[in-house]
Amino acid sequence: MNSDKILKRVLFFSSLVIILIAAAMVFSLFKGSLPSISKFGWRFLISDQWDPTQGSENYGALLFIVGTILTSVLALVIAIPLAFCTSLFVAEYFRGTKLASIVGTLVDLLAGIPSIIYGLWGFYILCPLVVEAGLSPQGFGVFTSALILAIMIVPYATSLSNTTIAMVPNDLKEAAYALGATRLEVIRTVILPNARSGMTASYILAFGRAIGETLAVTMLIGNENAIPHGLFSTGNTMASVIANQFGEASGLQLSALIELALLLFVITTIINAIGKYIIKKMG
């Protein structure tokens, strides 16, 4: 057998393994959630009840879906301006300078910090600040979680954006400058249209990261099983409730938790698909 054929087979089997693993995950999630699906059906998606009391067990995912989407969207809303400005700073305005490389490295460093550190920082620093500001009596809640999430996802939102902004052809920019465009005009009319799809992709990647984040959110959201009624009210997210209750759950509760995991899987897949579609349309 020549080396080309061997390589081809190795590549084929390794990609097959990935597909098999993903399929096995979906299969076991689906199998585990069958008791819950057959008991609650579509009601699972629209009910905001999560009652594990023996005898009156009743599970619905709505409050966790709302909590997850609310914290993640809010985090993205906070993170996008930060990430956008950082990208322009690093990849355009101060490109190649020492300052830009320091800022770039620091942002990348944020991605490497374990989420427990973010959680602890939020718990010990951010929560007391929120209490001091008189925004809520105990500091936990949607806003605190979203703020921490925003910091956590900034590096995901910037890294790809940096690359795409840096990849905008110099010829185009120089042509615009030659026509008398200001820097702001160059950004608006040359860089943004060219880098748009890559930047959108990086924001979607960041959003996906926010949806799945577990530990830091668990420490800050307040873990109250109710739909949040405001920015500073407590709530719960899908990933958080799974992490909290899986260890001691059994029977129907376990099945409902697995169905939540399946839902989380589906939601993440849909968001990725939307991201791909946007990139394709823009690119």
Partner: protein, 345 residues
Amino acid sequence: MKKSIVLVALLSLMALGNKVSAQSISGAGATFPEPFYNAAFATYERAAHAKVTYGGIGSGGGIRSLKDKIVDFGASDAFLTNQELREMPAPIVHIPTCSGAVVVAYNLPGVKQIKLTPTVLASIFLGQIRNWNHPALRKLNPGVRFPNKEITVVHRSDGSGTTNMFTDYLTKVNKVWHSKVGAGKTVNWPVGVGAKGNPGVAGAIHQTQGSIGYIGSEYAFAQHEPSALIQNKAGKFIKATVASTSAAGKGKIPADTRVMLTNSSAPTAYPIAGFTWLIIYKDQAYNNRSFAQAQATLKLIDWMVSRNAQGLAVKTNYAPLPAGVAARAKAILRTVTYKGKRILK
């Protein structure tokens, strides 16, 4: 040729593994008694030359592991219900190893000690008493200057034996709690914020002025958390200590020890207390287990209820079994069999 070498190597490895496992005992389950178990098993290993591994994966996980027959013993903070017993593949027995309590901790700057009755405690956790300035609290604690501050209830967000004990107590002493919330490892809390684990709850309480929450005694005693005096069934206000927790087990205990000690009628008992158990199959001959393995398991558990091990329980901030319960545990262990034959004499 190569294949056969690998095969031989694998087989000999497996044989080696079997040989080691003859003196190697494994268990999994409750995290609540883990510090005690770790200390006790380490002492036992040194004395008896048997290796004991314990995985603190939660009571539910411990029961599942025993059901799947992948451990020699499981450990649980809640006894198995009749339904759960029926779902096990074979009869099992419960062996209590020690007891623990749930303390009520609070953060009120300037306030040293508060007293709570079961009704007031339930009202706070039901959200019926929402301010520290409430007349019921002031009437109960003459001389204490309560601030005009909103009460922040902190509870566990993860499934936990501690929550089970606490809610079991509230269910027993309060009708509204019984009908609205009930008892369990996770419940539908009417008010409050959730935090993960005892350290999470303790941290949230430390951080939040005006908060109140419940913490497992194993953590609270070790960290010297200040806690409220709770009125017990005999009407006395009792501080949670190792002695008052132990006293909760001095009442009447059913033959299989499956009982929640909450709201004990013993006059010196702290009312929110309970046993934690090791669970094993009543007949130890399953899954091709050897007699030696069964014997090693039983000897270990028999030692756990001995005076030596119970002394370690106190050192790790757990309440030892009252003498009567330890004797009951030893008697139960002597009903465990291997192919119908008794193992311990």
